[in-house]
């Protein structure tokens, strides 16, 4: 009995030695997200505007129905999204939109600090997603 007690105490004492800490002091030190991390979305820009061709695959596949797209045509007759909006409060970060996109126009970044003060701030419009 005593032996096991001492064994337990020695395990905790061993961890008391410096160099055992696994804490990352978060706001000061930030963990690097992995390459595949599914964080905040980003619309990929091409030339003077977004790559997106407003094909509606992403709102179709989205399980949370958080993507709003409205298609329009520019002066050359090329389709583009007049509205592209993601509601981050509904988004479940499943990555289906990225998987579905046929032109690789949307990707997910390593950005994970998505807290905000106002409801409206969670609606990411095209301009914000292009940043």
């Amino acid at each position: 009995m005593i032996k096991e007690f001492i064994q337990g105490l020695s395990i905790t004492a061993k961890h008391l030695l410096p160099g055992n800490s696994t804490t990352v002091e978060y706001p000061k030190v930030k963990l690097e997200a992995s390459e595949r991390f599914r964080g905040l979305h980003r619309l990929v820009p091409a030339h003077n505007r977004e790559k997106c061709v407003a094909c509606y695959l992403c709102p179709t596949v989205c399980p949370a129905k958080c993507i709003t797209v409205e298609a329009g045509e520019d002066e050359n007759g090329v389709k583009y999204p007049t509205v592209y909006q993601i509601d981050m409060l509904r988004c479940i970060f499943c990555g289906y939109c990225v998987e579905a996109c046929p032109v690789e126009a949307i990707e997910m970044t390593g950005e994970y600090e998505l807290a905000n003060y106002k409801r409206e701030d969670f609606c990411f419009t095209k301009e914000r997603l292009l940043k």
Partner: protein, 337 residues
């Protein structure tokens, strides 16, 4: 040696010296209590591969002060159905005995002040040990009262647990000390310290190892520390008796827990480790011994699971009590023959 300073030979000097001693001890105890919380968080944090507080001040050293301030400014909530008077009284009832117990613990030899001898001890009661046991017993009223007055079933269970726990462990603790003053032939703590003054081999830990172990374990139970922290058992009773407490009242409970730890460490050091005796000047030895026990208490908390209520009772009545009695018999036999 000059005459002992007393109220009759120099009242003004006596009161001044007394107040100075009380203030000094009080401040030291408060500081230890405050930084015991810090040390506990740091040590347990390190043991659990965490860091503990780091943000408040250098190395997080201001954390206890920040915590205190935060609790001080929090809203003080008294549940509508609570028994108000008892609810307010309970935290005081638990804190005061915790602090006044330290009065009988000697923290050094004698010094000469203004031509009189002054003992480094607030009060040298000739029933010092009884006083300690009495105060420890008084502390439990605070917990029971808090549990009952909160009008919360979890708190009530905590209070009841603590009452039962205290009775069973008080007995074993008291009986284990008996063998100590059988050897020292005095109940005064000063007398006990003097009886151990002959060097490290005279410390009662060597002549009374069983009593020492019993006293330390039962003390753990008396101050509600893991593995005997049943009255507050946060995973079972959701903090037990202090569930409904908030703000400064909660802080008082918190302080009382640590003050109890300090006191129990000081008492153990006095009874078994020669009190202020040691290589350094008086009070420092005592402090080192206190810190040692506090560290052990924290260490145990980081390592062990919590026992169950019925097991605690079983241990108290069927293991510790007979062992303490046996120890008295053996000590008696050795003393007589």
């Amino acid at each position: 040696m000059p005459e002992m300073l007393s109220l009759s030979n120099d009242p003004i000097l006596f009161v001044t010296v007394m107040l100075a001693k009380i203030l000094a001890v009080f401040i030291v105890v408060i500081l230890i209590v405050a930084y015991a919380t810090y040390a506990e968080r740091k040590i347990i944090g390190r043991m659990q591969t965490r860091l503990g507080p780091t943000m408040t001040g250098p190395l997080g050293l201001l954390q206890p002060i920040a915590d205190g301030l935060k609790l001080f400014f929090k809203e003080d909530i008294i549940p509508a159905q609570a028994s108000k008077f008892a609810f307010v009284l309970a935290p005081m009832m638990i804190l005061v005995p915790a602090f006044i117990t330290i009065a009988v613990v000697p923290f050094g030899g004698n010094v000469v002040v203004g031509g009189y001898t002054v003992p480094l001890q607030i009060a040298d009661l000739n029933v010092g040990i009884l006083y300690i046991l009495a105060m420890a017993g008084l502390g439990v009223y605070g917990i029971v009262l808090a549990g009952w007055a909160s009008n919360n079933k979890y708190s009530l269970l905590g209070g009841v647990r603590s009452a039962a726990q205290m009775i069973s462990y008080e007995l074993a603790a008291g009986l284990s000390i008996i063998s100590v003053f059988m050897l020292s032939e005095t109940l005064s703590l000063r007398g006990i310290v003097e009886a151990q003054a002959g060097g490290i081999t005279d410390w009662y830990i060597f002549s009374q190892p069983l009593a020492f172990c019993l006293f330390v374990i039962t003390s753990l139970a008396e101050v509600n520390r893991t593995p005997f922290d049943l009255p507050e058992a946060e995973t079972e009773l959701v903090s037990g008796f202090c569930t409904e407490y908030s703000s400064m009242k909660y802080a008082l409970f918190f302080m009382a827990e640590y003050a109890n730890m300090v006191v129990i460490s000081a008492v153990t050091a006095t009874l078994f480790l020669g009190g202020p005796a040691g290589p350094f000047p008086g009070a420092i030895n005592l402090l080192l011994k206190i810190f040692f026990f506090m560290f052990v208490f924290i260490w145990i908390r980081a390592t062990f699971p919590r026992v169950k209520y019925n097991q605690l009772m079983y241990m108290g009545w069927k293991i510790f009590l007979p062992l303490a009695l046996l120890n008295i018999v053996i000590t008696g036999a050795v003393v007589v023959f």
